[in-house]
């Protein structure tokens, strides 16, 4: 294939990952049986349960790929893949730690100071420290270069931050934010210059966290407002002015994981139960089609995990996983409706009706969060050499 930038080598088999998978599955079955959680759709956004996160930390299932000196477990990305996938498939409450474990930790590992790493990473790995990402702003939309949150040095060498970030998932349960700020004025010749990342303790004075409720009334997102927030000078993450590059480097982590196609898996699972019960041939075929799509997405995502293990940062294949995967997440709803007569309602006595309702009410988010699919397709087009 001529478009080499999209093509990754197949993922090798990892026996270690499969063994780990079995352990996680056993743990989850026990937790479910004990009633410590109930399965829901899209729990990596909405399933906040710090106690559950702590349990995962105790078992060594957070910070898995990080060096042991920072509380990590020096496992492979393939092994981490197996763990995260099992948690999502079970609809377990993983939202509290998700961003910290997926993205902020790796970010700190790459760009953090030794002090930051030593202080924070072990707490993330223990499931005791949660993060938000501050990127979007009320007026920025998909155009991140247009952000206006500003950080200026004061006389003490500290940063004074003013502005507001939106769509910060679970900021009201989090300890830190990694916030993209403008540290020098915007330059129309290079729109991506002059931005930096700051590591901000969310308990600092001047920070207000306002809920942004989504259409079903759920409170997962927030607006985080910064008013003359004084952030210690050593909380600059990475290089001043290098924020755009650093943000971009995170994307392979952010866009390639199984959470980009398994958000609605609990609906598939309920559908499977229904099909097993009725044996309807059309529904069986639909289950087959959905399964084939999941299986392909798993291989796409696994290839990226394997590439991360090789030290690569395959951003374009990651954009493809998110584009194809999030499209799938919403399609599940239509595929199920096509063959099962079920009324979606959160109050439904039928678990399939409840799962359908949860999936539907969260559906607008799948293809928006982490970069809209239009943006992602532009990135893929660039990867194909078209712009």
């Amino acid at each position: 294939m001529s478009s080499n930038s999209l093509t990754l080598a197949p993922a090798p088999r990892s026996e270690a990952a499969e063994q780990l998978r079995a352990e996680v599955r056993e743990f989850l079955a026990a937790e479910l049986a004990a009633g410590s959680f109930t399965t829901h759709v899209d729990t990596w956004l909405s399933g906040v349960d710090p106690a559950f996160s702590k349990k995962l930390g105790e078992r060594g299932w957070l910070g898995m790929t990080w060096p042991k000196q920072y509380g990590g477990h020096e496992r492979s990305a393939m092994e981490r893949y197996a763990v995260t996938e099992e948690l999502l498939a079970a609809g377990a409450p993983v939202a509290a730690h998700w961003i910290a474990d997926r993205q902020s930790g790796p970010n700190l590992l790459t760009y953090g100071t030794e002090k930051q790493r030593q202080e924070i990473l072990p707490r993330i790995a223990a499931g005791e420290c949660f993060f938000v990402i501050g990127m979007s702003e009320p007026d920025s939309g998909s155009d991140l270069a247009s952000i206006r949150t500003k950080a200026t040095r004061n006389g003490d060498g500290d940063w004074v931050v003013n502005g507001a970030k939106v769509w910060t998932s679970n900021a009201h349960h989090s300890h830190y934010g990694i916030v993209l700020v403008r540290t020098s004025p915007s330059d129309s010749a290079n729109r991506h210059a002059g931005m930096s990342q700051l590591l901000i303790d969310l308990s600092l004075p001047g920070i207000t966290i306002n809920p942004i409720r989504i259409l079903d009334g759920g409170h997962h997102f927030n607006e985080v407002v910064f008013e003359d927030v004084v952030v210690p000078g050593d909380m600059l993450l990475g290089e001043e002015g290098n924020g755009w590059h650093q943000v971009t480097a995170e994307l392979a982590f952010e866009r390639s994981g199984p959470e980009r196609f398994l958000s609605t898996y609990p609906l598939v699972a309920e559908f499977g139960r229904r099909v097993a019960e009725t044996g309807d041939p059309a529904a069986l075929a639909t289950l087959g089609r959905l399964s084939a799509r999941i299986l392909a997405l798993r291989q796409m995502s696994l290839r990226i995990a394997a590439a991360l293990d090789r030290g690569e940062l395959p951003n374009i294949p990651a954009a493809l996983v998110k584009d194809v995967g999030t499209t799938f997440e919403a399609d599940v709803i239509e595929e199920v409706r096509r063959v099962v007569d079920v009324t979606p309602s959160l109050d439904s006595p039928d678990p399939l009706g409840r799962a359908l309702a949860e999936a539907q009410l969260h559906a607008p988010g799948y293809t928006l969060r982490g970069g809209t699919n239009e943006i992602l397709r532009g990135i893929v087009a660039r990867g194909l050499g078209l712009r």
Binding site: R213, V340, D341, S345, L346, D347, E374, R377
Partner: protein, 356 residues
Amino acid sequence: MSDQDLVVETVRDILGGFEPFALTAERRWDAGLWGALAEAGLTGVGLPEEAGGSGGELADAVAIVRTLAAGAGAVPVAEQLLVAGPALLTADLDLPSPEHPTTFALGDAVTVHPVDNGDGPGRFTLTGTVPDVAWAGVAQHVVVLAPAPAGIEGAVLALVDASSLPATDASNLAGEPRGTLVLDRVGTSGALLTAAQASELRARYALARSVQLAAALEQVLAWTVQYAGERHQFGRPLGKFQAIQMELAEMAGEVTAVTALTDAAVQALDRGENVVLAAAAAKVRAGAAVEVVARLAHQVHGAIGFTQEHKLHHLTRRLWSWRDEAGSDLAWSRVLGAGVLAGGPDALWPALTRVV
């Protein structure tokens, strides 16, 4: 200005005083809006004055339902004007006062016993549960379509006084009440209907939802076009991006298709034709459009449209609910598929040209 334009303007004026809101267990409908509509006589439009209604044409009633649907009015007007009222008229039963909401429900699992076998509208007792009752707990009366007593062909239409009956407080994705009514030997007035009449009432119910869907789809398109013209990204309005233009055009195609078919089905109803297949087609086509229009509307609006503060969800959540109410897409697809084949394997085309 046509009669309908006048009606629409009146309803819009009233709606202007009542902002749509998120329905909750505490606030299950817009009683104030209903009161204002009732006071203006709009909750009896299309029902003859001699039966206690406000008179007017079907087209007027449809115009009211459309306007309220587009405005996310949380009131049982579609049910009352387009289904329950006409159903009672069909069955020659007395209409309750249009000032108090009357809804319609399919009681397929209800057992009906005749109390009075005399001529004219009789008395029946009803036992069983009626699921997915629109505006359960809000509507004072529920017109229930149930199977006829054992040994009798057809169906029974019964007028149940729901004010003293318990209803579960379940709701659809938009928070509109969709509770279950539990009937335990409830005495009602009622009348026997033929199977054909019963089918027509089911079709009316589906067509009422189609009318609401069509109106809400049009409104969602209009909001999205407006937003795309106003919102700037990367230095220009969203609507200047070709990808967004393709999405809006796709939405427009869906909306136009739904409107054309729904209007035709309403006109067929107005001509007194059998609209079972026309209603089935309108409901199926509208249901298919929901997926495209709601998805693309949210996609174009971006995250802001996904927030509870934004108006968009008042309609998208209704769209997602309504398409599976009054008979799902799937159920009506089968009805339509079987219906167009009823004349035999070689008569599909003639059947299609007869639907509307």
